[in-house]
Subunit: 496 residues, 2 copies
């Protein structure tokens, strides 16, 4: 991987001075076209050996380009606050929108490589990180992002010379710390770990570009050229077309999950009052438990129109302290959200540990309304099942208790509720022409829901289908399930 | 994953009898178009629970379709003979060419799932298998293959009922063995392992399709429909277009790996004679060593035209027993080979343990001649680096000693040899107009070679660049390197 980056590459000053003005004009042109087209975002990752000129190059790129369309993120070690979230959250939050460039100085590669070099994780743990990285970068590529990965390299001798030179000069001596020499002693381990990581993450879509860092002019011009050529090439090409997958279809005998539900289950008003008190009390106690600080709760509500999501949610929040929960209502994406990969707008709302978040509709819109209404391509929603599973694994990996409810009512019951809403002064706002249109696509939605449950009900985050023809029954089932799941997670926390 | 396949799906006989003739005609039509277009191969994987009707469905597909264009592979446990090769070899060898259908009854999923259920491997080992499977299927998809993955499922109760029913009937009693009941007892473990595996390998391009296996008519019709729809959809669509990657470029200061070589290194004829005897003797002894039976040697020769590959190879074979080695000369692919994924034609020639194979040119043609001459698309050769690394990891994982030589001569030396060849009666056949044409692209080839070394010189299979202006020097360096690598591998074998 590093063979060509240990040759002593150099560029003369005259060559450099002649090349830079042309390069800058071309970069600005490309940036202008990028912003105009606003078809895709550009993600530039900068990594490499200490002292190889990473930060100088980042500064230069920033200086050469239009600062309104480029944003630099210097990502250091996780702070304590940040560790309360899944590790990838901060990268998600920093992703550039379509038409812009994001430079990541220190990226999702830094932590796994450093921890492996320091012996804090073993090779197989590193390989799990590499898998996660490959999944993430595949997602970004599939969403159209152009990913440019620059690795700045110094040979062991070159690094030593650089540290010695800085140390001899009184003006730069302060820059060389014991930590630098400590890292130098780990050079071989750093080199082999990086090599393994770079090789395993060099895909056809996002290959690593290794740049020798010894000569400032060589490395700057090379980095600039790579960014320019990558931009130019993507700007001047048509959008990719994914291969067609085998189509998903409803069962040929029209039997589905809903046929097996007992939709007649009811709870009387009297029983409801006592059960409600019981489970709201329990939920309240659970959220005040000391162990709750180490968990977060993410409750996802999906369901047919008029199935009673709002009512069920209110019975939960009734048991919670208003300072500790948030309801995230999910509607059509905003313009800002449409300029980002699909999952971006949900990452924004992921709670830190100790918090309770309720999603009123969720990321499952991709495989429900967006699939049925053709708001996204088939390739988009087909890959969403895997992307959602990866996403939820990250949430649960960060101690989230993820509880997913599908509230279902019969077609007749829906009609009854629609009509009731139209006639009630207070509920009229709840029924729109959209609801009637969705109802016409009842079967297509049912098929999408079954595929969703089949492909995303994973053991760490199973779906709970709630029979909601009777509101009392549905509300108690929701509360009870929530309590059970939180209790189970707390027991697991204790036994660890 | 299995929610919708435990509902008791059923199809009435009259419905079935009406549907089958139409389905068969449509399948035959699709098969005809597939053969006519010959654009892509179809790979159907069949897996699932014992007793769920896998073999019956395979038989039926075979019966319904044109047997000239479909081939069924019933892959059982590895035989001892087969274990002398890397595990994936037998699947590579069985891949259908473009225009044909290959049905794999028992596939690359069988072994990892069974071994995990039996507790022979742990979860993280299973996950490594899953990674390898995802890499392999991505390669197949990228090469254009349509992959249809059918999983036949039975609930635990349904499996029990099926075994009991078979056991009660005197005519079928013989079919139920102790092994079947043994496997039934492992049902839960099998279910959770399969679920994990299926979920982690359900990609957008090749999702698993889970079919309930209880009712024969339901499962047959469903399987037939899935195959038909997948075929039809792919046949009627344009070929996919991959996204463009950042372009690889030569270093801006034109300094490359070759500039650092000492091309003046020579060995006198006298010294050559003694060194040759020494290393040929050594190599001969090494290949007669008992430990050699556990290894295989794969020597890859690439190099500039007239760099002396043939001469170096003859100095190796001079030391070997003719019964134990093979030379594989690699030229342009045959028609049969062009109908397969690129690496297929090399898998054919991979030696079993105890054997020595010399590739005179190799799979590196993809990133050399095919890249420079544009015989394949940029997306093809860009992803080849990763595919080749995966391929070589499998070889080395099966105890191959993989030694890769790049023989390099200066441009002047090449000119001298070309002219010499033209003037010599015995060597005239060795020089063709192609050689002169390649020479004009000298710089493009050098860039391709540097990228190749940078991206595929991995620690388990490093490149050895051989300075070959002096034939004596080159031949001894090759022999010496070979001996060192085989010795090192043997020491490792002993210490294990």
């Amino acid at each position: 991987m590093f063979e060509s980056a240990e040759l002593g590459h150099k560029i003369a000053k005259t060559t450099y001075d002649k090349a830079v003005p042309k390069l800058r004009v071309a970069l600005l042109d490309a940036q202008f076209d990028l912003a105009q087209q606003a078809r895709f975002p550009v993600i530039i990752l900068v990594g490499g050996v200490d002292g190889s000129g990473k930060s100088e190059t980042v500064n230069l790129l920033n200086e050469w380009m239009d600062p309104r369309h480029i944003q630099v993120h210097a990502m250091s070690e996780h702070s304590d606050e940040k560790r309360r979230y899944p590790p990838m959250r901060r990268y998600w939050r920093a992703l550039p929108p379509k038409g812009k460039i994001g430079v990541f100085f220190g990226s999702w590669y830094t932590m796994p490589i450093v921890q492996r070099v320091q012996g804090k994780i073993n090779t197989s743990h590193l390989d799990r990180h590499i898998d996660a990285i490959n999944h993430f970068e595949t997602l970004l590529s599939d969403e159209g992002a152009l990913i440019i990965k620059l690795w700045f390299h110094l040979s062991k001798d070159a690094q030593k010379q650089r540290l010695e030179a800085l140390g001899k000069d009184p003006q730069t001596r302060w820059r060389v710390t014991d930590l630098d020499w400590e890292r130098y002693r780990q050079y071989d381990q750093f080199r082999s770990t990086s090599e393994h990581t770079l090789r395993a993450t060099s895909s056809a879509q996002a290959p690593w570009m290794v740049i020798e860092g010894t000569d400032a002019r060589y490395r700057s011009l090379t980095a600039g050229n790579i960014v320019l050529e990558a931009l130019r090439k993507r700007l001047d090409r048509p959008a990719p077309i994914p291969a067609s997958a085998p189509p998903l279809q409803a069962a040929i005998d029209h039997l589905d999950l809903f046929d097996k539900l007992d939709m007649t289950q009811r709870i009387s008003n009297k029983e409801f009052a006592s059960e409600l008190e019981k489970y709201q009390g329990k939920l309240n106690l659970l959220t005040r438990d000391k162990r709750f600080a180490r968990l977060s709760v993410i409750a996802v509500f999906e369901g047919s129109d008029a199935a009673g999501k709002g009512g069920a949610i209110r019975r939960i929040t009734g048991a919670l302290d208003a300072r500790n929960y948030r309801i995230v209502p999910v509607a059509a994406p905003t313009e800002e959200e449409r300029a980002q990969p699909y999952l971006w707008r949900f990452w924004r709302h992921i709670p830190r540990t100790g918090r309770f978040t309720i999603f009123d509709r969720s990321w499952y819109g991709r495989v429900l309304v967006e699939r049925v209404e053709k708001f996204c391509s088939e390739a988009d929603w087909m890959r969403a099942y895997g992307e959602i599973n990866d996403f939820e694994e990250q949430l649960v990996g960060n101690n989230a208790v993820l509880v997913k409810f599908w509230l279902t009512i019969s077609k007749d019951e829906q009609l009854r509720r629609f009509k009731e809403r139209e006639q009630s002064t207070f509920k009229r706002f709840k029924i729109t022409p959209d609801d009637w249109r969705n109802r016409e696509k009842w079967d297509a939605y049912q098929t999408a829901v079954c595929d969703m449950v089949d492909r995303t009900s994973i053991s760490i985050a199973p779906w709970t289908v709630v029979e909601a023809n009777d509101k009392n029954f549905a509300r108690i089932k929701v509360l009870k399930t929530l309590c059970q799941r939180i209790e189970a997670a707390m027991k697991k926390t204790r036994s660890q």
